[in-house]
């Protein structure tokens, strides 16, 4: 038997801390395990006894990259428990805020975390020495997303303006106009980003994923919809716990989610795109086709192109919302606490984010359950590694290690979120 050992300690260009262990025996991958050693922060435990109104502020702190997603899943879950439905301009403003977060988070991943893998750089700062215009375009595009979040939320990270029922203060129509100019530029830059990313070399790696995402009657999904899968699942968010389960594995402080009686599944841009292509705007559909994408995408390395298509869509949608915006009479719907259980599922940039709260009559949180996208994707990321690494075993250790890291980064794992990730240990066991 032959054995070879490679270690990567501290995976770079992901959000949070973890490691990867791969065991290769006689030229075949035996196991591939993601190890997550991000220290647990116990959000589900510390939310108990807090007021319902604090949930959007507290859960935002799970992730500095996608705080809006946590705020959105929290407010939808609590509104579900209280029988409140937010409609009209307040609903549109939530969608606009989410557009901002998708633009900011996806652009960070495309330009700063993922593209350096394709172009052979250690990071975006090193990439900027040879490609200054491209990196500046990325930064400017990211800035446009952050401008949306700041204007509506008060600041880019941990916005302060989201509340159960709506907002604390809603913007005047004229306040949104400067954003429109910035977003028109951003829409062009996003289209260039799709074309740029489509030109990278992608390994021929297709996977038969079970995709899971929200699907809405007539919109590309952000805040609302049914949970559907590419193998026929079609349920309300309130049925999530009946169909999905979380289990704990020794190597990870992040729980693993699976379909009950099924296997690993994938959430995120690939799933959303493949299940909702028909809901994209004509501009985004056209750009996707020109970039060589079909109506589904099962090559995780191409996720960078799919993210760029979603950024384009988000710019397009944000402009539509701004153009149609009518100032609401009140910044929030009336909220009357009552005892009950509420369910919320929204589309974080990295995929489906599920929250469930059990609330007491006065609105105190009695129990909280939060399932972030990276927890759901851990098993699929490990499966990607098992499937793909086999054909690269002839590579020298450093190249193979880099390829493994890239395979993980395809899914933009957010380890801070998942630990409620990466040291690579490659064991070519004797």
């Amino acid at each position: 038997m032959t054995r070879r050992t490679i270690k990567v300690e501290g995976l770079a260009r992901v959000e949070g801390e973890g490691a990867l262990k791969v065991v290769v025996r006689d030229g075949a991958v035996e196991t591939a395990e993601l190890k997550i050693f991000e220290p647990p922060r116990f959000f589900e435990a510390l939310l108990r006894g807090r007021a319902y109104s604090e949930a959007p502020d507290i859960t935002a702190r799970i992730c500095g990259i996608c705080p809006v997603a946590y705020q959105m899943s929290a407010v939808h879950a609590i509104e579900n428990a209280f029988g409140v439905t937010v409609t009209g301009p307040l609903r549109d403003l939530r969608r606009l805020l989410y557009c901002g977060e998708w633009i900011e988070s996806h652009t960070l991943h495309i330009y700063m975390l993922h593209a350096p893998d394709f172009l052979g750089y250690e990071g975006a700062i090193e990439m900027a020495r040879d490609h200054p215009k491209i990196v500046r375009r990325g930064l400017e595009l990211k800035k446009a997303g952050n401008a949306v979040v700041s204007l509506l939320g008060g600041r880019e990270i941990h916005p302060i303006n989201v509340r159960v029922g709506g907002f604390y203060r809603t913007p005047r129509r004229r306040e949104l106009q400067p954003l429109a100019d910035q977003l028109k530029w951003a829409r062009d830059a996003a289209l260039e980003t799709v074309q740029w990313a489509a030109g990278f070399d992608f390994p021929e790696c297709e996977r038969d994923y079970e995709f899971v995402s929200l699907r809405h009657g007539d919109e590309y999904p952000f805040n609302e919809g049914r949970i559907v899968s590419s193998r026929g699942l079609d349920i309300a968010p309130s049925q999530y716990d009946e169909y999905f389960e979380e289990t704990q594995v020794e190597r990870s402080t992040a729980l693993h989610a699976r379909l009950r009686g099924g296997g690993p599944y994938l959430v995120g841009p690939l799933a959303r795109y493949s299940l909702n292509f028909d809901r994209l705007s004509p501009l985004a559909q056209g750009a996707a086709r020109e970039a060589g994408l079909g109506i589904t995408c099962t090559n995780p390395y191409r996720s960078i192109v799919v993210r760029a298509v979603e950024v384009l869509y988000a710019c397009d949608e944000a402009l539509n919302i701004i153009n149609a915006y009518e100032e609401p009479e009140r910044p929030a719907a009336t909220v009357q606490p009552r005892a009950g259980i509420g369910y919320g599922a929204t589309e974080a940039p990295r995929g489906l984010l599920y929250h469930r709260y059990r609330l007491e009559a006065d609105g105190t949180i009695a129990e909280a359950n939060i399932v972030p996208p990276t927890s759901q994707n851990q098993a699929s990321i490990e499966e990607d590694l098992r499937r793909f690494i086999g054909s690269w075993l002839d590579l020298p250790d450093e190249s193979l290690r880099h390829r493994c890291e890239q395979t993980v980064r395809n899914h933009d794992p957010c380890i801070s979120c998942a630990t409620h990730f990466l040291r690579l240990e490659l064991d070519r066991a004797q």
């Binding site: 116990f42 510390l46 952050n146 990270i157």
Partner: protein, 259 residues
């Protein structure tokens, strides 16, 4: 004249949400200039490239919550000329310090089916509880303008200018109507460290103290006012126990309202 050696900057993460180090990447207009002015020697969120220490300036995000991290911060200190903590986790323990007021074993059992797989400390503590800290930058998250000020100040060899007055002063500078006086909205602004630009009152809500206590706050007087506005002991304890729950002034004030 020979070009001076560029200062080596390192960014370290402990228990946190990544938001404060993201603030550096959120300086879209300045990031490339910063990367030109300093050598980014260790910043895992941004680059695989790693340069060995010692480092001239270490920015530390996150709190100490595991035995391993309690060791690691000692190594970071030994390899750093200046150590600056960034954000509420690193300066006060963060939201995860709520465990300091609870039983961490009970917390473990709520989140994990196999608590025995998890190695965690009973408390979440600030970096300054473990090593000497040269400067603390407040906020949950930090203000990126203040972060640039800190990096610029260390490049120039001076103290960073980050006013220690209360959020109230920022409100006055912004020309806001006081939400507490005019609308009876409970607000932690009078006791909270400036730096956010009085964001919450500007959006018609009360400050929730994410920058932590100001220098010498009169929290007990503020508590009297909040009580008059209808907050009971439970609500008062909650308002002081959020992202800076373990900062001394907020911790002591919250403990007065133990049931």
């Amino acid at each position: 004249m020979p070009k001076p050696r560029r200062l080596k900057l390192a960014v370290w993460k402990f228990a946190s949400c990544d938001g404060c180090q993201l603030s550096l990447l959120d300086c879209e207009d300045e990031l490339l200039a910063v990367a030109d002015a300093v050598e980014i020697a260790h910043f895992l969120e941004a680059t695989r490239a790693r340069v060995n220490g010692p480092y001239d300036l270490s920015l530390v995000e996150g709190s100490i919550t595991t035995p391993h991290d309690a060791e690691r911060i000692q190594q970071v200190r030994r390899s750093s000329r200046f150590l600056v903590t960034i954000g509420a986790c690193a300066t006060a323990g963060g939201i995860q310090a709520l465990r300091n007021f609870a039983d961490v074993r009970e917390y473990l059992s709520v989140v994990y089916a196999r608590p025995d797989y998890i190695n965690t400390l009973a408390t979440s503590t600030a970096i300054a509880d473990h090593v000497t800290v040269d400067f603390e930058l407040r906020g949950c998250p930090i203000n990126k303008r203040q972060l640039l000020e800190v990096v610029s100040a260390f490049l120039a060899g001076r103290r960073p200018v980050t006013p220690p007055h209360s959020v109230c002063v920022e409100c006055k500078l912004a020309g806001n109507v006081c939400v507490m006086v005019a609308h009876g909205t409970p607000c932690l602004g009078p006791a909270t460290h400036a730096g956010c630009g009085a964001l919450c009152p500007t959006f018609h809500r009360g400050c929730y103290g994410c920058y932590g206590p100001m220098e010498t706050p009169n929290a007990s007087s503020l508590t009297n006012w909040l009580h008059k506005l209808g907050m009971d002991d439970r609500a008062l304890q909650r308002i002081y126990r959020t992202f800076n729950a373990n900062a001394q002034a907020f911790r002591e004030e919250s403990e007065k309202h133990d049931p």
